[in-house]
């Protein structure tokens, strides 16, 4: 099942890529190929790779019919919700990164994740997160000269 989805995604991506390639304006002065030729080759390459995948799918189907195991089953399980929640929490972190600043946004993000994945150790989590944020901000901005978002904190 997963391989069939990958096959369809590859075809769709090749289609979108060909469309995107057609949108590139052509100026082929001194360059016999222009900016479109290589991308076109890649689009064709992706179609060939998709065809190879189709051959593998058909070969595997024969194996399954002959009594082999279907390894491509797709199931949504409880842990997938957890991964999805982490992705959503990270998206919120990124959205707040500049408005709140590195220190505050990171502190909230870390407290949220450690509170769930390192449960029951509130003091340890709180202290570690505060120390990590303070040390990493000072080390990167003051010692290494890295520019990090300040946000609402004035230093």
């Amino acid at each position: 099942m997963t391989d069939r989805i990958i096959f369809v995604c590859a075809l769709l991506l090749a289609g979108v890529y060909f469309w995107g390639t057609a949108q590139i304006p052509s100026l082929e002065l001194g360059d016999p190929l222009g900016p479109k030729a290589f991308p076109r080759m890649l689009g064709v390459g992706l179609l060939i790779a998709a065809a190879m995948l189709l051959a593998e799918i058909l070969r595997d189907r024969k194996k399954v019919k002959a009594g082999g195991e279907d390894s491509g089953a797709l199931r949504w399980e409880a842990h997938d919700w957890v991964v999805l929640a982490v992705v959503a929490w990270t998206a919120i972190y990124i959205a707040l990164f500049e408005p709140l600043g590195y220190m505050l946004a990171t502190l909230i993000y870390l407290l949220g994740l450690t509170g769930y994945f390192n449960r029951g150790r509130h003091l340890m989590n709180g202290l570690t997160c505060v120390l990590f944020v303070a040390i990493s901000y000072s080390a990167f901005t003051k010692l290494l000269g890295v520019n990090l978002a300040r946000g609402i904190i004035p230093f």
């Binding site: 290589f38 995948l53 842990h79 990164f97 993000y109 994945f117 990167f140």
Partner: protein
Amino acid sequence: METLTHILNGFSVAMQPINLWYTFLGVFMGTIIGVLPGIGPSAGIALLIPITYGMNPTSALIMMAGIYYGAKYGGSTTAILIRTPGEAASVMTSIDGYEMAKKGRAGAALAVSAIGSFIAGTIGVIGLTLFAVPLTSMALKFGPAEYFTLMLFAMTAVSTLTGKSPAKGLIATILGLMIATIGIDLQSGQARYTMGIPEFQDGVGFVVVVVGLFAMAEVLRGLEGIYRGTSAEAMKIKGKLWLTREEWRRSIGPIWRGGIIGFVVGVLPGAGGTIASIMSYTTEKRLSKHPEEFGHGAIEGVAGPESANNSDTAGALVPLLTLGIPGGGATAVMLGAFIMYGVQPGPMLFQNRPDLVWGLINSMYIGNVMLVILNLPLIGLFVRLLYIPQGILYPMIVAISAIGAYAINGSVVDLWLILLFGVIGYIFDKVDIPVAPLVLSLVLGGMMEQSFRQAMTISGGDLKIFYGSAITVTLLVMSLISVLLPFVIPRLRALGSKGDES
């Protein structure tokens, strides 16, 4: 004679106090990165690039190489004590190393992996020193067509040899090449696939792709593991951190053989440390008088693979430094680092910057000595890292990744890209699409297109240029073989087994 002078000068560069410090810093961080799950050497090197922008390129590259080979040392510690390879190439060490730890011989397993890594790592660097110059002279004959076919070979080999399905490897390769086409086309000045996002005009930075695919995806997998209760506990080190006379006797052969296997496999594109360690493991099992001990704590099963995956790193630097073409994901990131510092690896580098290239190579001799010291008397220090709760460690990796990505352009778009590629890396892992080919082709994509277009300009648009010389024809044939091999071998095996039955 001139080369010998350059090599000796390289030692004086490597021995400068500042470079000794960066060698130490690199191998120290490499060991930590190898021990900890989450950030592997590829993401570690990528994250350091924006932070070390202003540094002298020689020192920065010495430090990054230190991370690359240092991580191999650290990876074995995790493999032995928690049966989870801290670094992919340590996968074979986790079999017998963990069994040895269960029998109270963790100290001996850690000692043999450190000593084996040191001896084999040094064999690898000697090989690199010996083979670099002849390959460089050959590479001087390369024009754009030769470079294009060489990159084609590296990519086809990596895409079909990495992972379970050649088709999926090829899809990953083409995806990487497609991402590389995003941005302003250098020859025509036309914007391609930028979708109106100004940050995309300079292209999608490989740093964010690597950090997303390797670090962020690993965080998602790790947190999922905590939720499912599948994350492992570290074992305590028991027994002396040294070998008995009998263990020495049994280890020395596998160390030498592993060193040679690792170097040879490392030079070839696509194979990498994991294949080197598997080959060493199977070789030792075949040569052993007690093959039944393998899988139950045979010291040869630790000594061989650990040696192989360390000399592999020096082998992998041969095509990177002499031809400018990496043969795998981690060396592709190294190439990205070279380019970021304005240094183009390849034959001209040996002529124009012998101080840099030989300083870098010779720092690896020193780095290996530092690593054996770090990984024997000081191993207890690194093992403590394994006791950090993973529920704290993984979220911090995201924060470190955010700092590294934001430091590049000061743009939040790079953070979104890390998340996007993290999700892609997580899904790819679930559906068995390898990420190393994507990283390799992303780094090589721009160069590959330029070589192709330069070759076509030289030939006036005639494709004959790609099969006009012995080098290009050989490389094209090798590319074709690497694509067809995964399809042909199973058929040959099936034919063979049918023949046996009849």
